[in-house]
């Protein structure tokens, strides 16, 4: 449709990292007025291509032409000067400064007396308003926001800069549906104004909803460029993974509805578990071999509740019983000793140890549990590492490579391996599939089902309601840092059922939080806590 | 008590009647000599003797902190200031302020440069240059046929180092002793040993005399000499300055060859001067504290029993 010259044209781009060819002769074009999706599995080289374009990495060979001129940027600032604005995959903001400053940093409005803060904050508010964030106080420190909100701020920042090219690397990975809609609205407006948008996401729905054209990468190689409407999902996925997808068609077929008997003794039983300002007192039972989903909107307190169970934050009220014994979990180390494992949603800050190798990262929790005086013998290490690299399909399969050199999705798999190596009774997975490609997502979902089958209890937290509904036997619904109900999964339960519970709770008066939720049997949650306060 | 018309340290001294407040701008811990000296001053200006001594040592031997302390005493309005400067220069402004505040200043140990005698009452001190000169004279006499010698110095740039070097060279006169090296050993025994050890090797043990600018370094040098298989007194002679008890002991044991005292005990003299200054009496602008030389084990042994520091 665009017969004019592309605004960005990359030819034969190659980048080699120690031991990996991250990009191998990749071509890419981007036209004005289009949303162009860059597709590929984890580690395919999407983020690397973006960093090559914006000068974060030097290229080994190839050429980059922007607006008809051969360019080699020497960093983001260069690229910005040439009209390319980027939101990288990792949220890149500075938490010590205010929200407004983060939006405007480097573009502050200046007056005769240096930066005009009033005008700068006003401009920031304007930028935020476009994404529906007009309620944010731009003077608050960025650190007061959740990761998701920070992601929105990062996007606002990219949009505040009047750019000809806008690059968004997985901007939606932690956004909820409404926020994604808002983002798409703005993206369409920009596209219609002639901005060229490069978009990366692992959500196929989103790709089909927003993109005009897409480029597929596989293992650092160029597969092809297609018009989105001419390529159906099946074909796209085949192109991404390089083979036909029988395995993937099974996705969604393995819904787990076999309810446990209620009288079976729970593995973990929390009563009135809470923490001031973070989680309202909550009752929770998790039985052997059961997958319990935590559902709720962003910021509803799912992560916080999970962190209490794991001792990552200290509960200030309530008790937790483990196999009928009251256990005092004061720290992750305590939890681990009691066979509870927790995979964090914040992979970069709380998950990986960047400079250590895949092997070291994988055995770390098991080692911590055993204590430093009992090192895991080399042979056992090899067994563990080889096993989980193979089972979880970690790529590259080299255990001695620093984990920081792996793509995000593969880092996630290594971390999953870390927890499985400790053979926990209860495994808490917080957003394990965030930012993960279809193939890997299926791998992980498969693994969860398999583990539960083998008798492990799993708490599964995800912003994708379908995924929660598909995997969980029981769904705990949270809202405003409070458990508002529980849904026993069944054939008639859908994502909509969960949404209904949440919506219904909003309608009820706040005074009574013990309401019945439709779509499943709801349990009173606050009863114990109220007794305590009396 | 005379001079001070508005009594300083209103609260600090209030309980104890009419004490004279003396601000002592001191050097602080530096080594055996300084320790003896400042303790002597503190033991002299006691409350029983009618004084309230305010002791303000320097931080890190830093002149800046001394100036701060001096300023603070002036602001506070003490009756007299005793000043043991770490460095001779840079005191004019401070002394002028003291003069304006009518606070007499008595220099202990170190003088000031330029030496404007109108700015202070008197200077009480042994004479560094003179003491070092005597060491030089002794060395020149000990080695009439010449020989090689090394100097162990304090940190480069410190006033004492420069003065003791100057005096020593003067004392040597036209002696045929040859200086083969001068290195800092930072006033320390351990470094004195380590430096001497290396210098002996780099000169194939062909060193006949070591001048250590303080006792501590000399004691270290002595050990290095012995470990190199040489004998102090016959193969190598070692001279030091300060005359601390450790050094006199070593001299008595034959581990040093010559120790020149740098007499730290002039508290009584200072007390006299303070009295006179407050009474408005005239005092000489420089009172030299006599220092003894010990040039033999016998002399050292004789002095040992009543060595105070």
């Amino acid at each position: 449709m665009n017969e004019e010259l592309p605004i960005v044209q990359m030819r034969g781009i190659s980048i080699e990292f120690p031991g990996v060819k991250a990009l191998d002769g990749v071509d890419f074009r981007l036209f004005q007025g289009e949303v162009h999706a860059l597709m590929g599995e984890n580690g395919a080289g999407k983020s690397t291509l973006i960093k090559a374009l914006t000068g974060v990495y030097g290229i080994d060979s190839g050429s980059i032409v922007v607006a008809g001129q051969e360019r080699s940027f020497r960093g983001t600032s260069d690229a910005q000067a040439a009209g390319i604005s980027t939101v990288y995959q990792e949220v890149n903001l500075v938490t010590n400064l205010s929200i407004g400053e983060n939006v405007m940093l480097g573009h502050e409005v200046r007056g005769p007396f240096g930066i005009n803060w009033r005008a700068t904050h006003r401009a920031a508010t304007e930028a935020l308003t476009r994404l529906g964030l007009e309620d944010l106080d731009t003077h608050q420190p960025l650190s007061s926001l959740s990761i998701a909100m920070q992601q929105l701020v990062a996007i606002s920042r990219a949009m505040a800069i009047k750019a000809k090219v806008l690059i968004l690397d997985e901007p939606t990975s932690s956004l909820d549906a409404a926020e994604v809609d808002g983002l798409f609205r703005v993206m369409r407006t920009l596209r219609d104004q002639g901005v060229a948008i490069l978009f990366v996401s692992h959500f196929l729905d989103q790709i089909y909803a927003i993109s005009d054209r897409l480029t597929v990468l596989r293992n650092g190689q160029y597969v092809g460029e297609y018009l989105t409407r001419e390529l159906d999902r099946h074909a796209l996925i085949s192109k991404m993974i390089g083979k036909d997808l029988d395995a993937l068609s099974a996705l969604g077929g393995n819904r787990r509805t076999d309810a446990r008997t209620a009288d079976e003794a729970p593995v973990v039983s929390a009563r009135g578990l809470g923490r001031r300002g973070s989680v309202q007192p909550t009752d929770l039972d998790i039985r052997r071999g059961e997958v319990v989903g935590f559902a709720g909107l962003l910021g509803s307190g799912r992560t916080e509740l999970a962190r209490l169970l794991y001792g990552a934050d200290r509960a200030d009220e309530g008790t937790v019983e483990l196999n009928g014994v009251v256990g005092d979990i004061k720290s992750p180390a305590d939890a681990l000793a009691k066979r509870i494992a927790f995979s964090t949603e914040n992979r970069r800050d709380e998950g990986i140890i960047a400079d250590l190798t895949v092997r070291e990262n994988m055995i770390l929790a098991l080692q911590a549990e055993r204590g430093w005086a009992r090192p895991i013998p080399k042979k056992e290490q090899d067994e563990i590492v080889d096993r989980y690299i193979a089972e979880l399909n970690v790529r590259p399969a080299d255990p001695n490579r620093p984990i920081k050199n792996l793509s995000g999705g593969n880092q996630q798999k290594v971390l999953l391996g870390r927890w499985l190596a400790t053979e926990p009774e209860l495994l808490i997975l917080d957003e394990p599939t965030r930012g993960i490609d279809v193939g890997a997502k299926a791998d992980i979902q498969e693994a969860v089902a398999q583990l539960a089958e083998e008798g492990m209890s799993v708490v599964f937290i995800s912003s994708e309601l379908e995924e929660v509904v598909r995997l969980s036997e029981r769904i705990v619904v949270l809202k405003d840092h409070q458990k508002i109900g529980e849904i026993q999964n069944g054939p008639d339960v859908t994502a909509q059922s969960v949404v209904d519970v949440i919506a219904a709770h909003g309608v009820e008066s706040a005074a009574d939080s013990l309401d019945e939720a439709p779509g499943g049997e709801a349990q009173p949650v606050d009863a114990d806590a109220e007794e305590e306060t009396r | 008590s005379g001079g001070g018309d508005d009594k300083g340290g209103s609260d600090a001294g209030s309980g104890s009647g009419d004490l004279i407040t003396v601000g002592f701008v001191a050097v602080g811990p530096e080594g055996g000599w300084r320790q003896a000296n400042e303790k002597n001053i503190q033991d002299t200006f006691t409350e029983d003797a009618g004084y309230d001594l305010k002791y303000a040592p320097a931080a890190n031997l830093d002149q800046k902190s001394q100036i701060d302390n001096f300023t603070s005493f002036v602001d506070e309005g003490v009756d007299v200031i005793l000043l043991s400067a770490t460095e001779a220069t840079g005191w004019e402004d401070s002394l002028k302020r003291a003069q304006e505040a009518e606070i007499p200043v008595i220099l202990l140990d170190r003088g000031i440069e330029p030496d404007d005698t109108s700015l202070y009452v008197t200077r009480i001190a042994p004479d560094n240059v003179e003491v070092a000169k005597e060491v030089g004279t002794w060395a020149a006499a000990e080695f009439p046929d010449g020989g090689n010698y090394i100097v162990l110095e304090g940190p480069a740039g410190v006033g004492v180092v420069n003065e003791r070097n100057k005096g020593f060279e003067e004392g040597l006169g036209d002696s045929s002793l040859v200086k083969v090296a001068a290195q800092t050993a930072n006033w320390s025994t351990e470094e004195g040993k380590s430096v001497t050890e290396t210098l002996l090797k780099s000169n194939n043990n062909d060193i006949q005399f070591i001048f250590a600018q303080n006792d501590e370094m000399g004691l270290g040098a002595s050990q290095a000499v012995e470990e190199a298989g040489l004998t102090v007194g016959t193969d190598v002679k070692i001279a030091t300055i300060d005359g601390t008890k450790n050094a006199i002991q070593a001299l008595a044991d034959g581990k040093l060859s010559y120790v020149h005292e740098y007499n730290p005990l002039f508290g009584e003299t200072a007390l006299d001067v303070v009295k006179k200054a407050l009474d408005g009496d005239k005092v000489d602008s420089y009172i030299v504290v006599p220092s003894k030389a010990f040039d033999s084990a016998e002399a050292a042994k004789a002095a040992l029993p009543d060595r105070k520091y």
């Binding site: 974060v56 960093g75 983001t76 600032s77 690229a79 910005q80 890149n92 903001l93 500075v94 938490t95 010590n96 400064l97 940093l105 480097g106 502050e108 200046r110 240096g114 930066i115 608050q140 420190p141 007061s144 920042r157 | 300083g8 340290g9 209103s10 609260d11 600090a12 001191a26 602080g28 811990p29 400042e38 309230d52 305010k54 002791y55 303000a56 040592p57 931080a59 890190n60 830093d62 002149q63 800046k64 902190s65 100036i67 701060d68 302390n69 300023t71 603070s72 002036v74 602001d75 506070e76 309005g77 220069t89 840079g90 402004d93 505040a101 330029p114 480069a156 740039g157 180092v161 420069n162």
Partner: protein, 346 residues
Amino acid sequence: MTVLTEAPARTDAATGVMTRIRRLVSTNPSTLPTVAAVAILIAMVVYGEIAYGRIVQANTLSNLLINNTHLIVLAVALTFVILTGGIDLSVGSIIAFSSVAGVMLSNAGWHPLAVLVVMIGSGSLFGLVSGILIRYFNVQPFIATLAMMFLGRGLASLLSTVPERLGEDSPLRWIGTQIKVVDGPKVNDLVITPAVIVALLVVVVAFFVLHRTRTGRTVYAIGGSENSAALMGLSVPRTKVLVYVISGTLAGIAAVLYTGRLGTAQNITGIGWELDAIAAAVIGGTVLTGAYGYVLGSVVGALVLGLMNVLITRDGKIPPEMTTIITGAILLVFVLLQRAVTRKKE
């Protein structure tokens, strides 16, 4: 985080100073240590006045400023560097080199302006070398500036190991001339020196740069996350070099102020002053890992240190071996206090 929800409720009642401070602190908890430092400075003044007297009087307060001009300037220098997460150990040595070189050139008959340029410029040069080592060769700030610390000291000692006296008539001495604003009885005058004015100017300019220019905001951003700052398109390399140049330059200025006041220069001047400056910055609320801190806080920190010395001198009964222990203990009390307040608030 809980503070955040409280903040809006209080805005209406924003009248008195206390309320405003509380609001400042609650919206921005990182200001808290600085506010605490101010409070402690005031408390120290009050304690000193009650216990020893003659603290709140013109001369004591003037001298507090005059004696600490160079420390104030150095604290500002360190603030820039520390905010980026770096450190500069070389400032003390730079002062030694710059002042010895300056005095020698001045005595050799150089024009005072040329001397000034050399003194300040040599500081900038040291900073530039540190900056280049750090930025382009990835040398850690601690090590790069440690090397410059040795280098500065060594070069100063090579120039001269004896005190160099500035000529009696040298215009540089003007920096230290005492101007009596209020001539009180005896020495109880309100005095100011050009050096103090220069130091205050430095503070004002530094404040402006840090809070009202993009460069300044980049300094904070680098401290927050160097990686993010670079990905946000800020000029990280330039700014990183710049902070060390600024720090070196300010050390050069401090050398001018100190030399002008004392009239002599020496190779052993400034030993350990980098630690004083770091302590001042820390006491003023600057976090050593970067990102949080205020230049005004550092100034307060410098004054706290200065006042602490005055109080120790006034007391006069503290045995010599205790002084370093006391300095250490007071520093400890300060950081513990800050730690306690910041913890409670967060």
